[in-house]
Amino acid sequence: MKETLKNFIFAELIYHEDPTSFGDDDNLLDAGLDSMGIMRLIMFAEKEFGVTLPDTEIEPDNVGSLNSLENWLRRSGYAG
């Protein structure tokens, strides 16, 4: 799951010289993920993993890193 998210983020939303060096706990917001990017990321994740992510939970703790995103998706019902 993290690999899929990471591929989407670095192919579509953020430029990084070496995405392989970007760690699962590294901060996506500091790396340049902006408000429009967060929206596109959430919509991508919902479609890709078949879950609905509650609007009220869109906060830095849930979208700040690949690990936090994965945890949020699992809490929201993704069982894959």
């Binding site: 579509e12 939303l13 430029y15 429009m36 990017g37 959430i42």
Partner: protein, 430 residues
Amino acid sequence: MTNSTEQLFNPGDYFTYVLDQEIRNAGMPGGYCGFALQLAETPDLSGLQNRLDLLVERFPQASAKIEPRGKRFAWVATGKPIALELHECRADADEADESQRILLEIFNRPESRPLTVHWIAGADGGTLLLIWLHPLLDARGCKILLDFLSSERPESFKDSLSLIEAKLAQWSFWKKLQLFFKAKRHNTQANSLDSCLPTQVEQGPQRLKLKLQSFDADQSQRIAKLAQQYTGLTGRTLYYLGCFMRAMELVGPPAAKEGYCIPYAFNLRRQNAPTPVFGNHIGCLFARATRQQVRDRNGLFAHLLSEHKQVVRDELDLAYLPLMWLGQWLAPAKYAKILRKQHSGGELSSLWFSDIGELSWTKTGFLGVPVTNMSLLCWMPLPPGLALLACQLDGKLVLSYSYLSPAIDEAWLDKVMSKMNAELLETGEN
């Protein structure tokens, strides 16, 4: 264009060219935009000139001219250098006023070149003004251009294929067709709500003027916090848009109709990417609300956020790309009519808007010199005759209002800006 002398417009370039032609046809200079950086000291001006020479050598498009190619248009290299133009503030005048006077004089003059660069010298430091023609590049591209001019590694900046065309190439014919009809429906819907306008004037000689609204670090933090509270982590731009709709509604729109429609760009560039430098890599989205929705502050932000989410969920952010691709074969006047006119015949845009986002030169300055302030400018058609451009310099919000005078009543705009201040900071003065 790096390896050839000619580059066909991409669909985003043509979209902006059509609006450039509308502006020129109304007797104004064209679709020019400007970034003005206030610098604490005079930078190395000969070093800057050398870098401009390198820019034209590496990216001939920077000094190219536009020529028709059948039904389409292309940038054709001229090889002409870009000379840094020097201006000086009069010593006996207030420096800030004088600098702004010179800046507006430059911006109002007739122009055909796609990119000009100016140094307006003050007693200490001055203003670096970069003016570009929108078909050449979008605002994020201009930030990359500034980075190129100031970078220690200019070789790392490269041109690449149009992101719009790369995206279109990924989709099957049927997917493009599906998206095309989605965008068409979205456009029809946007056209159904008659837009309030900031002026009733539709023609006559105009001059572009500029008003700035700057917020200190504490105020900017408060605005960011309120934006998160009302429009969530995903919607800072929507907060500015909503506050502006309310400010205009509270003062009273000079051309009062059913609601507000504010187009804003969706940029395909990846954040922090040094490439592509040139070209427009944008789609178009609309923030729309009826006057009744605008009057309910909480309801308005909830509406704008839900509308925006639906747009991304329905892939409408991408749906404009096939529409723009087909638009390339329409004559400018016909395409402009589709872009600007509503079913009623009125103007679609209540104003022009762009959020450039966060900009910072704190690490190395611009050419080693601290950037102390910044403003943005752009020409727009009449109506609406008003553009709001937002950016954050080192965390401090700056709102730049470009407006056409005498079409826009300055006293009216002052009142709107005062209401905007109260709306953004939620000071309860409304």
